[in-house]
Symmetry: C2
């Protein structure tokens, strides 16, 4: 008799029929004797409709009122999910984030969970109920409704699993689990049985759209083992957990390609202290997220100059150009070259720590395919390269074949 | 600087443009220096969509979950209304029923307000905010979300006005106020400047669709003076209050016609104790609402028999026939005659208490128009008659002309 926290995302509860499917699945677990806490998101499309309504009234609505508005999305789903369980004669009670005891800070629209008082959930579980909890939301200590921002429902599930000391946390989604690469890109990609928190963090940071970073970080911090699996079939998913000795045997856990990057090169910038700080402060002030940064060695000796390259999200390119143009007189670089035609290819694996020659093998593989490398950046368990966008997919397949084929 | 509670119904907040209109009106009051608490309903159509969703999952959903579901309707409106005020640079904060301190009993879907702790509302008003409160909802002492049933938003407004000791309570709706008769039926009908609680209660009970009885009863109980007025124009509405001496000068305040009635006559029922009790208990058990009841004097002496007539809501007619058919062997009446072709015409006025000859004048008016009276029922401030449905409208016009023309 395990205590299981399950989370179903927006597409899994998109309409009454899918909600009935979720109820059928939950009922199945309950028949086995498990105790269940089920976290649900807003039905897919609902949050967007609410956002659209709000924008019709005010382009930038106050965040407290956005939270009041958006919280109705999950509240609708919990009620309907509880009803669908009642339709199967399974006793079930829905709870808003506030009722579930989820207390957050006061940062509306992207609140952080501060603590969870799961007294009511425990009482309901003890009385034999399935407890349905609204994901993505909580309340401040003063009783203000807050939302947790993107990926918030995953976070609710993982935080509840931690607070309840659940035996298992299952994140149901529309994919079968975490893959060695995007199967649409790499037909030979395989589902992973397990992946370490750090690996999933690097894969997600490298563009793999499995889960938001913060949910994985939270799970890592509190040691919550969770499973990513499909709500459309009964296949086992991928277990995400702390890395183990045996995981190190595998050098590369996964390959990911991020086609949403653009590269900016600042040509012949003066190589003196404070220049790069000035540039990246200005970009941060404009809320532009910088990913990879590479600075080449300087040349010239009286007044040394250097080339500085960095990548940003493609939609920020225009904004970034404006920031750089404004800095030109102050800093005195020669020019700025922007390139939208790039992609970032990454390989990730905790095994890299104990294996050498991984980078060499990656570069060699790309060279053999006649793919030029624009930028390189490495971390302890990840190697990322920037390549020509047009060759990104071929590069991904080649690297996957070399390490995971 | 008055404290005003305003309530806007579903049609007044049906879409973003109408919500903006509400905000414009509220902003206007605020510019005068008033302090405002604004109660809003769900946008019209929203509650029906939610009900439809629920029925797709379960024909008779558990009432606790219905409340969880339906409460999202008003929560959506409060957030959007607060945004619309922000768009006008008016500081505004939305509160759910629970946050507004509205505590109810545990009867889900038709909860009664037990008490209101308006501490938070007072604090927000003191800090210069317009406070937007979700109508129709509250929470139990245990923190369960409840809804108040039909007309619940009016009730929220009136209860808040009582708890806050507001100077004024305004119920904004899509009519200009309370009329002497339905203007679609009686072109010469006039809007009333004022009406007594008891008169409005009798008019509403007689089919005038201004407000739900329970809201008026609540206002009467707590002495809340309120105004019914239009959200579409700036015309003054109708003030509803305790009756005053001056009100008695007017014999008939209004005329109403209820075409939703059906008449059942039990012919030759044995006139012995317990028979009518048996009949009306059986009808009550079947949840059939009985309105007028008339029993004629009995005839026969060894085994006296009598005719018993009563009216019910037309949609209940089939169900009522079945109840009566089932009772026939036990009670032993001769037959049951059902008549859907009837209407109930009522005149209402506190002045009737001190004026005689009112009934005579009503009957005389109908006789002059050659309209036959089927049943008569009187209360202290109301006289109702059942007439042929086809003649109902002509009868209404004639009686309105006689008393209010």
């Amino acid at each position: 008799m395990a205590l299981i926290v399950q989370k179903y995302g927006g597409t899994s509860v998109a309409n009454p029929d899918r909600i009935k499917n979720v109820a059928a699945r939950v009922a199945g677990y309950r028949e086995r004797g498990d105790r269940l806490v089920v976290v649900v998101s807003a039905m897919s499309g609902v949050t967007d409709s609410l956002l659209k309504l709000a924008k019709e009234i005010l382009p930038l609505p106050p965040e407290r009122e956005m939270d009041m508005l958006l919280a109705t999305g999950e509240q609708t789903t919990i009620a309907l999910t509880a009803m669908a369980l009642h339709a199967r004669d399974v006793p079930a009670v829905s709870l808003t984030g506030a009722q579930a005891g989820i207390v957050t800070d006061r940062v509306h629209t992207k609140a952080k969970i501060q603590n969870i008082t799961p007294r009511q959930i425990h009482a309901l579980l003890d009385s034999g109920q399935v407890v349905i909890v609204a994901g993505f939301q909580g309340q401040t200590q003063e009783g203000q409704i807050t939302t947790l921002g993107r990926g918030g429902s995953d976070l609710t599930a993982i935080a509840l699993a931690a607070a309840l000391k659940a035996d298992l946390c299952q994140i149901f989604t529309d994919v079968d689990g975490v893959y060695t690469a995007d199967p649409r890109l790499v037909p030979s990609a395989r589902k992973l049985d397990e992946v370490a928190y750090d690996e999933l963090l690097e894969l997600a940071g490298a563009g793999a759209k499995v889960m938001q970073l913060r949910s994985v970080e939270f799970a890592k911090k509190f040691g919550v083992v969770f499973e990513v699996r499909s709500s459309l079939n009964d296949n086992p998913g991928t277990i995400v957990k702390e890395e183990t000795k045996s995981m190190e045997g595998i050098v590369v856990r996964g390959v990911s390609l991020d086609k949403n990057q653009a590269k900016i090169t600042v040509v012949a910038a003066p190589d003196r202290p404070g220049v790069s700080s000035r540039i990246f402060h200005a970009l941060a002030d404009a809320a532009i997220n910088v990913d990879m940064i590479v600075q080449n060695v300087s040349h010239g000796s009286a007044r040394p100059i250097t080339d500085l390259s960095f990548t940003i999200d493609k939609p920020d390119l225009l904004k970034a150009r404006k920031v750089m143009d404004a800095l030109k007189p102050e800093i005195g670089f020669r020019e700025v070259i922007a390139n939208e035609g790039v992609a970032k290819l990454s390989i990730v694996g905790v095994g890299m720590r104990s294996h050498s020659g991984v980078a060499a093998k990656m570069f060699e593989t790309l060279a053999r395919e006649d793919i030029n490398i624009d930028m390189i950046s490495t971390s302890e368990i990840k190697i990322s390269v920037v390549v020509d966008l047009a060759k990104g997919e071929a590069a991904t397949r080649a690297v996957h074949e070399a390490f995971l084929g």
